[in-house]
Each structure stands twice: as structure tokens, then as C-alpha cells.
């Protein structure tokens, strides 16, 4: 009986597992420029360090882009136009202005042709 209850309990827990929220993690502090540089130098090593981890990145907003569902992507200036840091915000009602200094916390999902990506981000300053 106990075993069944534990089984059902575990099942319900797993079934209703909440979405991971970045606020619940401390997050590693790094500047957008330093993060871009680390990825440019060695993507595999940077992935080992940052992939799927919470990161708190500081930088200046270079531009923003809206997706088809209204979600905002914030692109941070890294000083290198070929290596941006882009942060997909979790909430749709916030959109920082170009030129604004921000601290953005999110989960790193790696690096691609448009730069280093952070997902499910929140603005924490």
C-alpha cells in the first residue's frame, strides 16, 4: 500500500514538475563581452561551463527583436559585431530601451550563428 502511494505520489510530482525558473538559481556573474569572448575562444569548453546553467549577464542593449508571439529578444553589445549575446525574455511585458545598461539572468542554451543565447530570461536590475 505504502509502495503504491509512494509510486502515485512520485508520478504526480513528476507529472506536475514546475517549469525551471531562473530566479531560483544564483547565477554566474559575467559581462556580455567576456561571455562572447569565451565562446569565441572555445565553444566546447564554454558549453561545459555554461550550457543549461543560470547566468547573470551585464551589458548594454544594442537592439531588440520581437518574435511572432510577442516575445522579446534583447541583444547585448559585446564590442564585437560578429559575436553578440542574445537573451530571450520570459515575460512579454518588459522591453528595455536601446542603450540601456541591464543585468539579465537566464539559462544559457549555447552559441549559434547569431551569438551566444540565453533563454527564459528575466531582467534583474
Amino acid at each position: 500500500m505504502v509502495a503504491i502511494l509512494i509510486g502515485v505520489g512520485t508520478g504526480i510530482y513528476l507529472w506536475t514538475l514546475p517549469e525551471k525558473k531562473v530566479e531560483n538559481s544564483v547565477g554566474m556573474d559575467i559581462s556580455a563581452a567576456a561571455l562572447a569572448k569565451e565562446y569565441a575562444a572555445n565553444e566546447a569548453a564554454a558549453n561545459t561551463k555554461y550550457l543549461n546553467k543560470a547566468i547573470k549577464v551585464t551589458g548594454v542593449v544594442k537592439e531588440t527583436e520581437k518574435n511572432s508571439e510577442g516575445g522579446i529578444m534583447v541583444i547585448l553589445d559585446t564590442g564585437d559585431p560578429m559575436a553578440d549575446v542574445q537573451c530571450a525574455l520570459r515575460d512579454k511585458n518588459v522591453s528595455p530601451a536601446v542603450g540601456q545598461s541591464v543585468v539579465i539572468k537566464g539559462f544559457c542554451s549555447g552559441s549559434g550563428i547569431t551569438g551566444v543565447s540565453l533563454t527564459a530570461c528575466v531582467i534583474s536590475n
Binding site: 514538475l17 558549453n47 527583436e65 518574435n67 511572432s68 549559434g112 547569431t114 533563454t119
Partner: protein
Amino acid sequence: MKKLILTSCFLLAGATSIFAQKYMTRTGKISFSATAPKSPEKIEAVNNEVANILDAKTGDIVFQVLIKSFKFERELMKEHFDENYMESDKFPKSEFKGNVTDIAQVNFAKDGTYNVKVSGKLTMHGVTKDVAVPGTLTVSGKNVSAKAKFVVVLKDYGITVPALVADKLSKEATIALESTLTQK
């Protein structure tokens, strides 16, 4: 000196025209569904962080997607997707790199929808395969919307569906691409 200035001007003009033929976005959308016919729940996910670059002159097109950025309805599904199927720690990105083979028939100066053929290489889960799919390009001012839908057999990409979940997870996934690119 005059010559130098002139050469610089030509180089600049050249660079500008090369740039002008490129369209890009960082916020394209890829959604997939791999729900087995009798499954009580939907196995599907969306990624709104897809990078897409199109060269209007050559027809070269790239879609790149980071696997960790897929969003699921249930966190548990995401965990299974990342750990058991896509192994996203090992293979963090998927990519389609190819060419719109009939790009010449698309008039980027005229608004309209054009049916196109795209062929190239799809890399997923560390496996690269040749893929040819039909799609559409819709020109609207300085924007171009790209759309395509195709089916991939998971086994072809080294993704095995255990018998235990075969009633939920289909052996094939329908992938839909949708992005609005802006001229750069």
C-alpha cells in the same frame, strides 16, 4: 589619393550591396509534433529563438536552433527530450544549411508569395542527412517570411523510441518552420 578614395568608395558600395541581399532573424519559430496516433497527451514543443539567414542573390539559407531553447507544456517532457532523445548536452544545436534552388523566380522587389524548393543538409542529434522540401517565401516590403513543413523519421537521426513510450511518442516528427526575416 584620389584613386584611393575612389577605390574605397567602390569597396564600400560593393560591401553595401552584398549586405543588402541578406535577410536575417534571431526570432524564427520551429515547432514539432511527435504525438503517436493514440496518445492521450500531445508530444509537441516550440522554439521561438531560431536564427535564420537568407541570401537573396544566391539562395543560400541557414536555420539554426539551440535545443535547450525548446519550450514544452510539461517540464518532464522537456527533461526527457533533452536527456533521453536529443542528448542536448552532447548535441546542443541543430541546423539546416541549404539552398533555395529556384531563388531566381523570387522577385524581392515585389510583394507576393512564392512557392520554392529548398534542398540541403539537416543536422540533428549529431547526424547529417540530405533533405529536400518545398516551402514558401513571402515578400512584404523589407521583410521576407519563410515557411516550410516536413517530416523526419527519428531513427534516421539516431533517435530511438523505446517500446515503453511507443504509444505516446511517434516514430516520426512533423517539423514546421516559420520565420520573418528582415533585410540587413
